[in-house]
């Protein structure tokens, strides 16, 4: 992968909250760094194209004044000069057409490449930033970087930038040509263009406000539709149809009013501009005509005709400019958001300890080339050599304090140990800090104070990827990926053979239902496996962990959203999997954790009771109350 090659320089240091200039510079860096040569060709072509079209307009003057007028009334007029001039015009036009084509095509490639690179950078970087980012940014928010923001950026790079450059060049060149023809008429044009410009700005601003209102209305109406359609069955059960119809009609009417106004203004812009353009055309014809008749400024008939043509081509780029500036500002705002994601700090990982395949030789652990089923932590000893520690699954928390947000401590002085093969359970209300503990084990977050030790090694010294590879997680919300059932199981270990995947599925009690699917293991899953029941999805996620075969497992509310009958099947699959492994369990139903070696009852970030089931029942404390149903979990 060529990811480094395409990476433009990072914005350094002071990249503030709103810095349009900086953003524009940074975008420009994408062009100048990777596509400078091509971009220069584009600019050259745009200039050429602009000049050819101006040449064409100017030619009309010569056509009338030089080639036609003198010949009027002559016997046997010689048209050779006219033929020559027209041939030159044809060549110039041809150049214009070719350069137009050239820049459009090159610009298409440049903009698409930049977009690809930005997209790639964004996604690649997203893989490397801490989980905390996703906990603090909403899903829709991040999605919009990939949809809306990239889309406006595409429009800007592909259309606004070239048309902006071409407009600027045209405006300057045409203005100069007009001046050479007649400054009198140029004043008329400038005044009219100013009026058009102000009109555009005025109407644009006004319609912008209505478009904003329309957007708000759309948001409200769509939100209502979504909520009501999702609850449609409840609406029916309560015979609430007429009521929601009335509510909907109100919102719908409001949307209509705003949309209608926004569209009226936007639609009117084009005909108004066109007709103001016509007025300008007429004014020039009249003024030019009067000047020619009065013999002021040496204006010829040809000059008027050329001028008319020029003035038409003058107001167009001016309008373009005012429109493109809007687009560019919008796109820059999007680019700024995209860059803010790209600038997000990556997960720090200074861990040096790695996980390797190992085998035992004469009582000593040595590194193995291929999978042996035994793993070892490889620790550099600082002298160029390495020491090996067998991966056993011994996890200890030593006086751990943690907070997501400074000042709001979530975990207080947590100490606990899990010996290899033990099952440790966490119980407590939502917000008690159960999931936080598991977040710390796999280093989605790092502890503030204290230490987590894994097989005698501080987890911060272990390379993150290797640490996580040694831990298997089953979460309450199962995330499946588009692909076959087999692909989804193989997600646990990419080099697993089909046989190994099927073996894992059998272990997780998933084989039975998979073989009943239309295409068995090759059944395509779409939309997060929405065709499967909650229980089936959970079985798949267990199979996924089974194929990864990690020595330590974390089960976070893995069976909470499954009915009791299915739970028995899932539980059975998990029990098989848990044998011989260190397991951390967070459970909703206490029945699933009764056989744990140790149960931690958590409350507001502290462990308030600990012991095995019988001991805790004996204590008649919080656990006892929970168990007897006197308290509601959640």
């Amino acid at each position: 992968m060529q990811k480094n090659k395409n990476r433009p320089p990072r914005g350094r240091g002071s990249f503030g909250a709103s810095d349009k200039k900086g953003t524009a510079k940074r975008l420009l860096a994408y062009i100048t760094r990777d596509h400078l040569g091509r971009f220069l060709i584009v600019v050259a072509c745009i200039i050429l194209a602009a000049f050819t079209s101006i040449y064409g307009s100017m030619f009309l003057m010569d056509l009338i004044d030089v080639y036609i007028k003198p010949l009027i009334g002559t016997e046997n007029p010689v048209l050779r000069e006219l033929v020559n001039a027209l041939s030159i015009l044809a060549v110039v036009y041809a150049v214009g057409i070719v350069s137009n084509l050239l820049y459009a095509r090159i610009m298409a490639v440049i903009s698409q490449r930049i977009l690809r690179d930005i997209r790639q950078q964004m996604f690649f970087h997203m893989q490397d930033i801490p989980v905390g980012y996703f906990d603090s940014h909403t899903f829709g928010n991040v999605m919009s970087f990939y949809t809306n923001d990239t889309d406006t950026l595409r429009q800007m790079l592909g259309q606004s930038v070239p048309s902006f450059i071409s407009s600027v060049i045209n405006v300057i060149a045409i203005f100069c040509s007009m001046l050479t023809l007649s400054w009198h008429m140029t004043i008329v044009v400038v005044v009219m263009v100013f009026i058009i410009f102000m009109l555009t700005k005025f109407m644009g601003g006004k319609s912008g406000r209505y478009f904003y209102k329309q957007q708000v209305s759309i948001g409200k109406t769509n939100g209502f539709i979504e909520e009501m359609i999702n609850g449609q069955k409840v609406v029916k059960v309560f015979c609430h149809e007429e009521q929601t119809k009335a509510d909907f009609d109100k919102l719908n009417e409001e949307l209509f009013q705003n949309a209608s106004k926004a569209n009226q203004l936007a639609n009117a812009l084009m005909p108004i501009m066109a007709n103001v353009g016509n007025l300008q055309y007429i004014l020039i014809a009249v003024v030019g005509g009067a000047l020619a008749v009065g013999g002021v400024g040496g204006i010829t008939l040809g000059a008027i005709v050329s001028f008319l043509q020029l003035s038409r081509s003058f107001s167009m780029p001016v309008n373009q400019l005012s429109m493109q500036i809007n687009y560019i500002v919008m796109a820059l705002a999007g680019a700024e958001r995209i860059f803010s994601l790209i600038d997000e700090k990556e997960e720090v990982d200074e861990g040096k300890v790695t996980l390797v395949n190992a085998r035992e030789e004469n009582g000593a652990i040595v590194e193995a080339e291929s999978r042996t089923g035994m793993w070892a932590w490889k620790q550099p000893d600082g002298k160029g050599g390495c020491t090996y520690t067998k991966l056993a699954g011994d996890v200890r928390f030593k006086n751990v304090n943690f907070s997501y947000v400074k000042g709001k401590q979530v975990l207080h002085d947590i100490s606990l140990y899990a010996k290899p093969g033990q099952k440790i359970a966490f119980v407590g209300a939502t917000g008690a800090g159960k999931t936080t503990i598991t977040n710390l084990i796999n280093r989605f977050y790092d502890v503030d104070e204290g230490q987590i030790v894994y097989d005698g090694i501080d987890v911060r010294h272990i390379k993150k990827d290797d640490l996580r590879r040694s831990l298997g997680i089953v979460l309450q919300d199962v995330n499946l990926f588009t692909g076959t059932v087999m692909d989804n199981i193989r997600y646990g270990r990419l080099d697993a053979t089909d046989e190994e995947c099927i073996e894992a599925a059998k272990k997780a009690n998933a084989h039975g239902f998979i073989t009943m699917l239309p295409d068995g293991y090759n059944t395509m899953l779409e939309g997060d496996g929405s065709g499967l029941s909650q229980g089936q999805r959970q079985l798949l996620s267990i199979a996924r962990v089974a194929v990864a075969d990690p020595p330590v497992m974390i089960l976070d509310e893995a069976t909470s959203s499954i009915d009791t009958r299915t739970e028995a099947i899932v539980q059975d699959g998990m029990d098989k999997l848990m044998q011989g492994r260190t397991v951390f369990v967070i459970a909703h139903r206490l029945s699933t954790i009764r056989n744990s070696n140790s149960i931690m009852v958590m409350d507001q970030g502290r462990i308030i009771e600990r012991g095995d089931h019988d001991e805790l029942i004996e204590q008649r404390g919080k656990y006892y109350q929970l168990y007897t149903g006197a308290f509601e979990l959640e």
Binding site: A90, I97, F123, N263, L269, R565, G629
Partner: protein, 582 residues
Amino acid sequence: MNIVKTLLKSVREFKKLSIITPLIIIAEVILEMFLPFITGRLIDEGVEVGNMQMIIRYGVILFVMALLSLAAGAGAAITGAKASTGFAKNLRRDMYHKVQDYSFANIDKFSTSSLVTRLTTDVTNVQNAYQIVLRMAVRSPIMLVFALIMSFSVNPRVAWVFLLAIPILGTCLPLLLTRAHPIFKRIFRRYDKLNLVVQENLRGIRVVKSFVREGHEKEKFDDISESIYQDFSKAEKIMAFTGPLMSFCIYLIIILVSWLSAKFIIGGTMTTGDLTTLISYAGNILMGLMFISVSIMMMVISRPSMERITEILTEEPTIKDPENPVTAVKDGSVSFKNVTLMYSRKAEKPVLDNISIDIASGETVGIIGGTGSSKSSLVQLIPRLYDVIEGSVQVGGVDVRDYHIETLRNEVAMVLQKNVLFSGTIKENLRWGNEHATDEELVRVCKLAQADGFIQSFPDGYDTYIEQGGANVSGGQKQRLCIARALLKKPKILILDDSTSAVDTRTDALIRKAMLEEIPNTTKIIIAQRTSSVQDADKIIVLDEGRVSAVGSHEELLKTSAIYQEVYYSQNREEAFGSAEE
């Protein structure tokens, strides 16, 4: 086509505007088309011969025409916008109202997300297409034809040059579009895929990270991103021909017109004014052609949206009120007589197979059965959310199909398994059950449903705002609010479809006790996972694969029903302690 016909029915009060808009636009086009013609006259009769009076005369005429054209243009913009957004409003309204008439079977047929897209995105697409049809579809051809007529009337021996543009653009533009269109379509599909990868990645970021699959995800993304790049640049490279193609035509026309006109002007059969007029028309003709192709493209794009909207509007609700409906429910008795239910005629196995049950008014009935035993299907027949295929369901001795639907559903309150609260205060949510309920009544039913306690503990009490989908209350609290909402209807029959699954056993028992004491005359039908929720019912129905496997009291079933025993013992081995406490 009937798709168009169905959709146009929704134009209604905006019909007048829809007709006026193109008419105004025709006026605008005609005015605009005469402008170059008169400018030509101004040059020939004014500038050429040095006649200032003529210049002013034509100038004033032109000025007035441009103002009129401006007024017409702005007018059409206003009427067009009103007509198209109004049409969209009516479409949305018709669809929404139609969906309200849908039965459960109709709703099941369309997924909720597809219903939402049809009501939102698809309507916007049709609105845009309608606006374009009103404004462009008339404008462009008229402009084209008019410009041609005018230029031929100016000078037919030069004007024929314009006709050259028609075959050139007529073949090349569609060629470009047909070549680019499939690529664009492919790009949209690829974009969906890209979004899917990002979406799944975002949702499952913990899975990705814990399996250390960042590299794998990057590869997936890269493949799609690369193919989008390839396709997009291919498509844009094709579309890059449109600009130069237009220039080619206009340049070709200018050169030919210049050559021919020069000859004719020198020969004295044409004026210089004619020349400027013709060159102006050349621009109009090309614009006309361009807009026609854009309009066609827009209509092609909006076609699928039109089809999807029509599907909603033409879907027949499967459940309707009978002709002479019964408007009162005598009592809360329910009886199923040889009921068979299938959701689809093609299904191999019926969902409910020949079920007969009698429930007396005021009885408490429990229903137990595994996933897929059709418990929910059975009870949904009582408020006639679905219709039976064979047999009949009677409430208060009358077939449910003979009732006025609203009467029936007001007497049969049902708490659905997948229940929803709506954004709004707790009070507002509760009043879905009865709009006119007093605050005291609200408190009473909440006490019944054991909800009053936690509601009071909220700082805003009954005025607490519930987020969309009830996101800010726990599962158990949500279920109790839903029960309270149903109780507010004061129904003759109350159905709880696994409505206390997230409530702890103690509260569950309290709710059942309260209902037994406070609403003894209401028939109560309770579907449950836990046998403890139904064991004190008057009778318990055990369902298995769409059939009644056993009916009886808790004690009877413990002796006779193998399924009931299995369920009971599997739960009570684990929860032995809990049950003993109750």
